[in-house]
Structure formats: structure tokens, C-alpha cells
Amino acid sequence: MCLEDQILSSYIDGELQEPWKTQVEEHISHCAECRERYEQFTRLNQAIHGSRLSEKEFSRNQQRVWNYLEKTCMPAQPKKFRHRRFNFSAPAASALAAALVVLLGANVFLMSNIDTAAPEGEQAIPTITAEAEDVPRFENGNDEVIGVSARAHQSSSIAPQELTVDELLFLLEQKGFEVELKRSDATEPVYSGSPASQEDSSGRAESREIDEEVPDTEEGDEPAPEDETEDGWSDWDDE
């Protein structure tokens, strides 16, 4: 045998420096015996690598250990570390952050619009109307109900004709609709019910949405795209 096994081993490990590296390559190309020995080592290496624990096989362990460490070692951290995978590129991350900001802005704008426009909301919100003949009489017989009018959201599928007035009022109020019962000859409504919580709930909705949006936006910004792509965090589950 012309080449020492030790030299071949170092060559396979990528640890052989020039000019020996080139010399080994040239020798292997024309010496069948050394080539056979080299291929034997190579096959062994393939077998060793083939039994390697893949990232897929331990990604759960990686996450579980992190969860444990985060809980036990660093309980007082100001911000939560997330086990999300951020696969988007740097431009995509900026675009996402920008989109979130725009959405948030639009949301706040729309919310304030609805609040101020509420008194004249009839123009924007469709009306459901049913004739009194189709509706059972209101319990208080003195007030003759001739129609039920509800300002409702477009998506509403309630058919007023199929319900008693009580059920209708209950359902509509449950869903947050404003309900108004009118006599045909009266200008003042016989019954005017708007869920007491409506304004509050819309207020809450707004603040809640803001609460949710802001961290989202921070999340989008926070994992600095360079970090996420450079440090290979996104490769957790890959392969």
C-alpha cells in the first residue's frame, strides 16, 4: 500500500494541508489499491453519518429543555422568549411590520369614525323591517305594534317574521343591535332598546385590539431579521 491509512484518514477528515492534499488526490486517481482503501473509509464515514441524530428527531427536546430553563432559571425576564419559527426574509419582515402598523392605524381610525358617526349610523347600516301582521302582539296590548325595525349588521340572518317580539328583542339585543319599536302615528318610539353594554363593549373592543396589536407589531420588529436569518434559528425544524 502506497498511502498510509493515517494520511487517508486525515484527508477524509478534511485536515490534510496542501501540497499533501493534492498529492493524495493524484495518487488515488491512478492507484487502484489506495483508491479501494479510500473508498472503504468513505463508505464507513457514510455509514457513521447515516446514523446521525437529525434535527427533526430532537427539535421537541430542544423546545422542551428551553421551556424548562426559561421557567426555572430565568423567571423574571422582562419579555417572553418565543418558540416561533421566523422563516421570512429581511424585506418580508419589514413589509410585515409596516403592514401591521398600517392595519393598526386603520383600525384606530375606523374605530374613532364609528364612534363619532354612531348617531347618524342609519346611512351606513342596513335596516330589517317586518310588518306588524306577521308579528304577535306586544304583551302590553295598549300599544299597537305595527312594525319592528332593527338596525342590524349586514351579516345578520335573523328573519323577524319567525320570532315573537320578545324573542326578537332579546335576540337582537343579545347580538348588540339597537332596537326601536314605533307606532305608525307616533314620532317617539314605544320601545327603544340598545344594549347597555354596546358602547362599553365597543370601547373595550377598541382598547383590546390595540392591546393585541401593539405586541404583535413589536414581535414583528423585535426578531431583527438579520439575527433570525444569520443565527439559524429558523432552521429548527428543517431537515
Binding site: 485536515e15 446514523s51 446521525r52 430565568m74
Partner: protein
């Protein structure tokens, strides 16, 4: 860049980069995923609690690999698994490795390789595992094990020679 083992940001960074390495090393020493997970957890707890400062992430990595390697070897010794596995293998001849299956190894072949590696003396086995599963070069392995680079080179080579003897040589020869 200095790395503080108890700093949240640097700990997080080291964890992301080093966990896969020490998980592989621990697994290929113990050949038990649960044990390897415990080893990793213990290694990182020590890393965090010691409040160490390293010159670079690589230095932190070497420290963690050393701790994980030692914990794994202790685990194997404690459980007496090394001896148990050795006895088992002695009773059963290793199945032959078929040519052409090297690229996608079946469970059987994987087991053959694992059992053969388990039979290596600790000194050779550690170098081979750090080289092949820890993706480290001779210099790094020498640093972790506190041995010279040429010593690493010799051990890596001897580990290969012994593996060739342990795994059915005739079958590996066939091309």
C-alpha cells in the same frame, strides 16, 4: 464578542447555536434520546448558574460540549449500559451492511453502526463522536479534551480502523 452565560440575550444565542451540537454528542454517547435531553438540560443549567464569561460563542460551546460529554459518559457508566450493550453484541453477530444503502440507512444499519461505536474504547469513541457528530475539527477537539491536535488525529484514525474491524469488513468491501 464577550458572552455572559447568565445574560438572557447571550444565553439565548448560545442555546440556539450549541444545543444541536451537545444534543448530538450526548445522544451518540448514550444512544438514548431522553438521557441526552437530561444531559443537555443539566449542562445548560450549570452554564447559566455558574455566571461564566467567555471570549466568544465558540469558547462557550467548547465548555458546554465538555460538560455534556462528561455528563453523558457518567450516565453510561452509572447505568452500566456500556457493558450490557457490549455483552449483547458479543452474543449476536453484527448484521452485514448492504452496499448501496449507505446513503439512506435503515434502522438495522443504524443499529449496527451505533453498536460498533459503543464498543470503541472511551478515548477513541469520544474523539470520533466529536468529529463526526459534533462537527468539530482536530484543533477544536484537542481544545475540548485538553489533548494535542496530533493526538486527536491518531485517535480519529484508530477509531476508524477499529470500526472497520467491528462492522462486517467484507460487506463494506463490496462495491
Amino acid at each position: 464578542m464577550e458572552v455572559k452565560s447568565s445574560g438572557y440575550e447571550s444565553f439565548q444565542r448560545v442555546y440556539k447555536e450549541v444545543f444541536p451540537v451537545i444534543m448530538r454528542v450526548a445522544y451518540h454517547v448514550t444512544y438514548n434520546v431522553d438521557a441526552a435531553e437530561d444531559v443537555c438540560q443539566e449542562a445548560f443549567i450549570r452554564f447559566y448558574n455558574r455566571e461564566l464569561t467567555f471570549a466568544s460563542v465558540d469558547e462557550a460551546k467548547y465548555w458546554l460540549i465538555r460538560v455534556a460529554k462528561n455528563l453523558s459518559i457518567n450516565y453510561v457508566k452509572r447505568k452500566g449500559r456500556e457493558q450490557a450493550a457490549f455483552d449483547r453484541i458479543k452474543r449476536q453477530p453484527l448484521p452485514a451492511m448492504k452496499t448501496g444503502e449507505e446513503q439512506v440507512l435503515g434502522d438495522e444499519t443504524r443499529e449496527v453502526v451505533q453498536k460498533a461505536i459503543q464498543q470503541l474504547p472511551e478515548k477513541l469513541r469520544t474523539v470520533l463522536i466529536l468529529k463526526e457528530y459534533g462537527d468539530l475539527n482536530y484543533r477544536e477537539i484537542g481544545k475540548i479534551l485538553h489533548i494535542t491536535e496530533s493526538n486527536v488525529k491518531v485517535r480519529a484514525h484508530r477509531a476508524r480502523l477499529q470500526l472497520l474491524k467491528l462492522i462486517d469488513q467484507e460487506e463494506i468491501h463490496v462495491s
